[in-house]
C-alpha cells in the first residue's frame, strides 16, 4: 500500500472511525462535573463519621489504589512484573557485573550521598502517599532513578561496589512482591482460621466483614491499614524492576 492509495485509505479510515466515535460522544454530557461514584469516594475516603465505608487515607486516589479497588492494583503490579520478566527472559544470560573499581574517594562519597538522598525521597514519597500525592509506583520509579543515575554517572562497574547485582535485585523485587501477596492473603487466612467473614485484601473493618488492619501506627500516626506496607512492597518491586530492565537493556551481549 504505497503512495496516494495508502493516504486515501488512511484518510477514509480515520474519517469514518472518528465520525462513528464522535456520533457516540454526541450524546455525552458536557464536561465539568464529577459523577456520583467519584463523589462517593471523595466523601467517604477519610470520613470519621462513617467508618464502615472509609479507607483511612486522606488521599482518595491512594485509597482507591490499595483499598476500594486494591485487587485491580495487585494485578496491575503483576502486569508490571510481566514486563520485567519480558526483559529478563530475553536479555538474561549476559555477562555478570564485574567490579572495575578505580574511582576516587571523592567520587565514591558523592555518589553515595546522592544515592542516599534520592532513596530517601523515594521512601518519603511512598510513605506519605496517603496524605500527599505519590505512591508505591512513583516511589519505585524514583528509587530506580537512584540506581540509574549511578549507572549513567559512574558506569555499571560501580554498582558492585554498592552491593548491587542482578540476582540481589531479583531477590529484593520478589521480597517486595511477597510482601504484597502476603498482605493480600492474611485476611483470607484469618477467615479460614476463625470462620468469620473476611475478604482478600481487606483493609478496614466493616459491619459486614469485621476483619481489619490497624488504622494507626502507634497511637496517632496514620497508617491507612495495609496501605503503607503494601506501598513499600510495591516501591521495592518497581524500583528493582526498573533497575533490572535498565541494567539488562544497556548491557553488552556476552560473546558466546
Amino acid at each position: 500500500m504505497s503512495g496516494w492509495r495508502g493516504s486515501l485509505l488512511g484518510v477514509l479510515f480515520v474519517a469514518s472511525m472518528s465520525s462513528i466515535l464522535v456520533y457516540a460522544f454526541l450524546g455525552y454530557p458536557e464536561l465539568g462535573f464529577v459523577r456520583p461514584l467519584g463523589e462517593f469516594y471523595l466523601f467517604n475516603t477519610y470520613n470519621f463519621e462513617n467508618q464502615d465505608w472509609w479507607s483511612a487515607s486522606p488521599n482518595a486516589v491512594t485509597g482507591l489504589l490499595w483499598d476500594y479497588r486494591g485487587y485491580d492494583t495487585l494485578y496491575e503490579t503483576m502486569v508490571f512484573y510481566v514486563g520485567i520478566v519480558a526483559v529478563a527472559m530475553f536479555f538474561e544470560g549476559h555477562a555478570k557485573l564485574t567490579k572495575t573499581g578505580g574511582m576516587t574517594v571523592i567520587v565514591r562519597a558523592t555518589a553515595r550521598m546522592v544515592f542516599v538522598f534520592i532513596l530517601t525521597s523515594a521512601f518519603a514519597i511512598t510513605i506519605f502517599s496517603i496524605k500527599t500525592p505519590g505512591g508505591g509506583f512513583q516511589g519505585g520509579s524514583i528509587m530506580a532513578i537512584a540506581y540509574i543515575a549511578i549507572i549513567v554517572a559512574l558506569s555499571k562497574g560501580f554498582l558492585p561496589e554498592m552491593n548491587i547485582d542482578l540476582e540481589k535485585a531479583h531477590i529484593a523485587k520478589i521480597i517486595g512482591l511477597a510482601l504484597i501477596a502476603g498482605l493480600t492473603i492474611v485476611p483470607v487466612v484469618y477467615s479460614l482460621a476463625s470462620g468469620s467473614v473476611a475478604y482478600a485484601l481487606q483493609n478496614q473493618p466493616k459491619a459486614w466483614a469485621p476483619f481489619g488492619y490497624p488504622t494507626y501506627l502507634g497511637l496517632t500516626s496514620l497508617s491507612g491499614g495495609l496501605i503503607i506496607p503494601i506501598q513499600l512492597g510495591e516501591m521495592v518491586h518497581v524500583g528493582m524492576g526498573f533497575t533490572i530492565m535498565f541494567l539488562l537493556l544497556t548491557m553488552k551481549e556476552r560473546e558466546d
Binding site: F13, V22, F25, L42, G83, F90
Partner: protein
C-alpha cells in the same frame, strides 16, 4: 441531528486521536511505529478518563486537606476514580512497552529489520 457543544469538543479531540492511533497500529508497517501508536491510543483513552473526571470551577486535587468537612471536599475535588484508572493504565502501558520493546529488539536481531513487509517467514 445533535450538534456538539463547546463542552464536548475535547471528546472530538479524543475521537480523532484514537482513530489515527488505531489506523497507525493497523496499517503502518514499522513495528516501532505500531507500538507507539498503541501507546498513544492508551494516552488518548487516559485523556478521555481525565476530561470526564474533571470539575469546572475552583477544583482541588482529590486529597482531603486537614480539617475540611468531607461533604465540602466532595463538592469541589476532582474525580479520584478517573485518576485511579489512569494511574493503573500508565503502569500497564509501561509493561506493554517493555514487552514489545524486548520483542522488537529480538526481531531486529533475527531479521535485521523491523519493517513488517520484510519479515515474512510466516504466512499469516
Amino acid at each position: 441531528m445533535m450538534i456538539a457543544t463547546a463542552g464536548q469538543l475535547p471528546y472530538i479531540l479524543v475521537a480523532i486521536m484514537a482513530s489515527i492511533c488505531i489506523y497507525a497500529a493497523l496499517f503502518k508497517s514499522n513495528l516501532f511505529k505500531k507500538m507507539l501508536a498503541i501507546f498513544l491510543l492508551t494516552d488518548a483513552v487516559n485523556l478521555l478518563f481525565i476530561i470526564q473526571g474533571y470539575r469546572l470551577g475552583n477544583s482541588i486535587p482529590p486529597i482531603i486537606p486537614p480539617g475540611m468537612d468531607p461533604s465540602d471536599f466532595a463538592s469541589i475535588a476532582v474525580d479520584p476514580l478517573a485518576h485511579y484508572f489512569v494511574v493503573t493504565a500508565v503502569v500497564i502501558g509501561l509493561a506493554e512497552v517493555a514487552t514489545l520493546t524486548a520483542l522488537i529488539i529480538y526481531t531486529y536481531k533475527h531479521y535485521g529489520t523491523i519493517e513488517t513487509k520484510k519479515i515474512k517467514e510466516l504466512r499469516g
